[in-house]
């Protein structure tokens, strides 16, 4: 297994590098190591096996899937993928999701950074109230808003539109984004901003030319966090994007695929659809895993 053979490359390696590997001492704790490795490996398998199974099954025929869940495909049937891509329109839904998230993520970052910067760096009347109004949104379950939100969006003429989804995604991402970025802007040194102001730099220029570039690490973390939560959003589109299935996002397309699979028994098509939806996210994650992990956990550690 690659899991065992690959040496720890980062993180823990920093500690290990300082400590010379001592073969003789390693032997003493061998039993404990086997024990701990056993559990670690078991959980690793539990995590990987279902995903691997999904991937392999996406190449099998329905007969093969039903006959032997553990068997390997007789041939690489890419036609399953093609069927999911075109007939179940996974390709289109993928694109729809990309359009919606591109819009909502841009809007979230723009508005979130602007509001957070003002909260962190400027003193004005009502600042506390406005800040807690934003941050308080983190406490409310989205279910509470679902019914009225449906009508707010419909009355604004945005029901079943991408614009509606983009605005709603951004609005519901703001509480955590503002909370996180306000804390981040506060950690930046004030001296740079003061020097720039004395040099005659305007407030807007100061933000775009000085503060925003300085806040890059925090912006990247929260952007990753928001990207994943908006990309994986399910309840909001299910309520606000009913009807016209040409505008659906990926999560809706997958549930529709699962329902039709239930009627038609097209198991391989479902597995292919799930694999198509999973692979890009997983590949991007593996490439940027450190950023993704710290982006998703950073907010919780604050």
């Amino acid at each position: 297994m690659t899991i065992l053979d690959k040496p720890a490359s980062e993180g823990a390696a920093a500690d290990e590098r300082r400590v010379p590997r001592d073969r003789a001492l390693r032997g003493e704790s061998g039993a404990a190591n086997v024990f701990s490795h056993g559990f670690l490996l078991l959980w690793g398998l539990l995590t990987v096996l279902p995903l691997l199974w999904m991937f392999i099954s996406s190449f099998k025929s329905d007969v093969e899937i039903l006959a032997d869940p553990w068997g390997l495909p007789g041939a690489l049937r890419f036609e399953n993928w093609a069927r999911a891509w075109t007939e179940a329109h996974i390709g289109r839904y993928f694109l729809n999701s990309a359009i919606v998230v591109a819009g909502s993520l841009t809007l979230t970052m723009l508005l979130g950074a602007a509001a957070a910067y003002v909260f962190a760096r400027y003193e004005f009347r009502g600042r506390q109230i406005a800040y807690y109004l934003f941050v308080g949104g983190m406490m409310f379950p989205v279910f509470l808003a679902l019914v009225p939100l449906f009508f707010v969006v419909r009355n604004a003429g945005l029901f079943g539109t991408w614009t509606g989804l983009i605005l709603v995604y951004a609005a519901y991402s703001l509480p955590f984004t503002v909370f996180f970025l306000t804390a981040f802007f506060r950690t930046l040194p004030t001296t740079v901003a003061e020097a720039a102001l004395i040099d005659g730099c305007g407030h807007f220029r100061l933000f775009f030319r000085v503060m925003l570039p300085m806040a890059r690490p925090g912006m990247i973390s929260i952007a990753i966090f928001n990207f994943l939560s908006q990309w994986n959003q399910f309840i909001l589109p299910q309520v606000l994007m009913q009807g016209d299935d040409s505008k659906w996002v990926l999560a809706q397309g997958l549930t529709a695929l699962a329902v039709s699979q239930g009627y038609q028994g097209d198991y391989s098509g479902l597995f292919a659809g799930l694999t198509i939806a999973t692979l890009p996210v997983l590949v991007v994650y593996v490439i940027f895993q450190r950023q993704v992990q710290s982006g998703l956990t950073a907010g919780q550690l604050k």
Partner: protein, 302 residues
Amino acid sequence: MRHGKYPLIVTFLVPPLLLYLVFVVSPYLQAFQISTTDWLGYSAEADPVGLANFEALLHDGRVWNALKNNAWLLAVVPVLTIGLGLFFATMLNMGGRKGRAGVTGVRGTAVYRMVYFFPQVLSVVIIALLWKEVYHPNSGLLNGTLRAVGLPAPTWLGDPRTAFWCVLAVMVWANVGFYVVLFGAAMSAIPRDIYEAVLLDGASRWTTLRRVTIPLLWDTVQVAWIYLAIAALDGFILIQQMTNGGPNFSSDVIGLRMYETAFGSESKFGYASAIGVVLFFLTLSVAVLALRAARRDRIEYS
């Protein structure tokens, strides 16, 4: 230079505030108002009925049944997830203790951490659909394995006695990896010399974990507790996609009850909003209770 700040404050704060007020604050406020009416969907008629909806809730067996399942989630999911998370994080960060080498992780830490985190980047919809297939009585991975070793193959999601617990297991599966990484990040912030001192004093691995690591991680554990408690009151997507509350309401949760009441076969918006209000107060009290119960003296290392 102070005169220039108000244009920036206004341009930076008004757009996010507007978006937030329209799509987040106003629906939340309306929800409380709608919960005191008998609004039945798309007609304009909505008569105020006071607290009648809440009174009806008290006698609604379905709602109590759903709440009972949420209570189970609340009792089991955080404990299991945090327990497994701490266990694996400890193994990864200090499982490979080797004599004078001090405290280091096992080999392959980075790979384990990457793999464990997989479910976190996947959409919950994908996780739900994939596990629904894993639990499939005929072609599922689980029963395929059981049959291969000659064990009986239950129907899992089709059996009212097991359906709910199967979904609960998936919830734990999907969350453990995140907390392994979160706790791991917190553990690596603990100064190494503390462990070296404890090691010199001859403390066992278990004592080190119980007396040193967990107290120093307490803040993070507390945050984890709150997040998982809030997640346990939800569970909507997994349940809706895997069992839709069935068989015979055995795996129903409060979020699904609300969704069905509002957007299912009936559209009792007043009653659904009342469920939403109850869910809000439950979330709030669980968060406050978790904060209270977990309160301990903060430990700062200088």
